[in-house]
Symmetry: C2
Subunit: 303 residues, 2 copies
């Protein structure tokens, strides 16, 4: 709008890699503390992990778990909104959204630096895998892929399973978001870690670096950490941390450890988007005339 200040081209982002407890109030308190620390370290944006208020709730199907959902705006965004306004920081707050009775979403609220919810993104791709029973809880998003104009510039957010879909990153970047956040809850089945752990973590990092490269934009992935066994029984899930930020060439510029909480502060230079895209002008040459098939489920059915 006329007279609006130009967003910065250099900024710090703060990725809050958290270990969750069974107490939603304690998790919110931790998140508030970490966002304040991020602001104190100069971050213009802080991003929390997916569903940061709770232990990863989709390890089992339990109707009582819906009690953990909340409205958006609601308690989480209000508490974080106060911090955002007081410290002038943008906050990405992923919450278990109760939209109506029987209608829930896995949502990321983008809270602008004035404390108001600038908009929400509802996770579009919903997984369902043993111990990740998200289709039981979450209706797939109906708001599409989105970019948000914040005090820190135009950003995008997607959530976890979205990170495996180049379509989501592309559609968000095409809306002008030069910095994509992926709040996440991903980990190993403990029985698989020894055999597949390294490959799975590397695939997760690689495909998101690929989104940065394909779109010539920055990518920030924010994961939780720690072994969670909500029933106190069974193997649980070991969330693998390794939150990271990569530049428009896919170079990882900051990465958190895999076994502990971390507040990862990274310098982001949005001028790199212009520089990289000038040298590797992929957007110039997209064959938009030939991409219609991307809206098909499959194109290889037998005749």
């Amino acid at each position: 709008m006329a007279g609006a200040p130009t967003p910065p081209t250099r900024l710090k982002v703060g990725l809050v890699q958290m270990r969750m407890t069974a107490d939603p109030a304690a998790n919110l308190a931790t998140a508030v503390t970490r966002v304040k620390e991020a602001a104190a370290q100069g971050a213009a944006i802080a991003c929390l992990p997916e569903l940061f208020r709770t232990l990863y709730l989709a390890q089992r199907e339990d109707h009582d778990v819906f009690d953990l959902a909340e409205a958006v705006p609601g308690p989480s965004t209000e508490a974080l909104g106060r911090v955002a306004r007081d410290l002038g920081i943008v906050v990405i707050a992923p919450v278990f959204e109760r939209r109506a009775a029987g209608l829930y979403h896995n949502t990321a609220a983008v809270i602008d630096a004035d404390g108001e919810v600038k908009g929400i993104y509802r996770k579009m791709h919903i997984p369902d895998d043993p111990a990740y029973y998200e289709k039981f809880y979450f209706t797939p998003g109906d708001l599409g892929f989105r970019a948000f104009d914040t005090k820190a510039g135009r950003i995008g957010t997607l959530v976890c399973w979205d990170q495996w879909y180049p379509e989501g990153g592309r559609l968000t970047a095409l809306q002008g978001a030069n910095l994509l956040f992926y709040p996440t809850a991903i980990g190993w089945h403990p029985s698989e870690k020894a055999r597949y752990g390294t490959q799975q973590l590397d695939a997760w990092r690689t495909i998101q670096r690929g989104h940065a490269i394909a779109n010539g934009c920055w990518v920030a992935a924010v994961n939780r950490v720690g072994l969670e066994r909500p029933d106190g029984a069974g193997p649980g899930l070991e969330f693998w941390g390794h939150s990271f930020v990569c530049d428009p060439l896919g170079v990882v510029v900051a990465e958190a450890p895999g076994d502990q909480e971390a507040l990862l502060i990274a310098d982001v230079d949005l001028a790199r988007v212009e520089e990289v895209r000038r040298n590797w002008p992929f957007l110039r040459d997209r064959r938009v005339d030939a991409y219609g098939g991307l809206t098909a489920r499959y194109l290889g059915d037998a005749p």
Copy 2:
């Protein structure tokens, strides 16, 4: 078709990483020799690098270069077709296609094991960058993204610049191709190698591994190698080799060196596609209802 033999689920692929000379006949002779060697080592498919008949012709804009183009089918596919038929090997032969006067394409011919051209793919995304003046030479492909049923199974091929576009890999995989080939001619500007070389090579490898992960398919990239200075003057281009094969988790299972010719033989187990996609069922959850914007050039224009 009824009675057709079931393609193998385990096969060897041969990636022919070549150093080109100024003599197209010599390059063809080398290619024939390497395809024979690949067959002797058990490869069911051999893939040659992009534009394997010549030095990389787009380092400069020169009307006489069009003399190097040929019809498809034509001399290159006939010579390689004889080898294919004699040895029962599928060959991917990337050629400078002369379609009509003033109409040329950067094409990959898929020669089946009977020696016939099963079909052609015309490079869809055409780059234009200093010393990669391809828009001068090549009309963008008009056949779309394609899969081909060969004796070795249903495969796809794309060419070089296509490798930066997730859309191309997706559209080919959606047609049932479980093994994607990317014949390539990519290298460093010598002046940039020290500063950017590692990042550029890594980005190239990363985004293609990302296509394998996103689609749960195998990917094989086949590059040329060596410094080429077609005029004997100027810095030229240093093609970086590093041809590789990765599995559906993006794990690189075979990789060629960066500074010499190589015949890279890799074992491909197509059953891994089923296994990986069952565990990471990304195709199940694509939001085809929300991907319409992918056919737009840009979605972030100011109102």
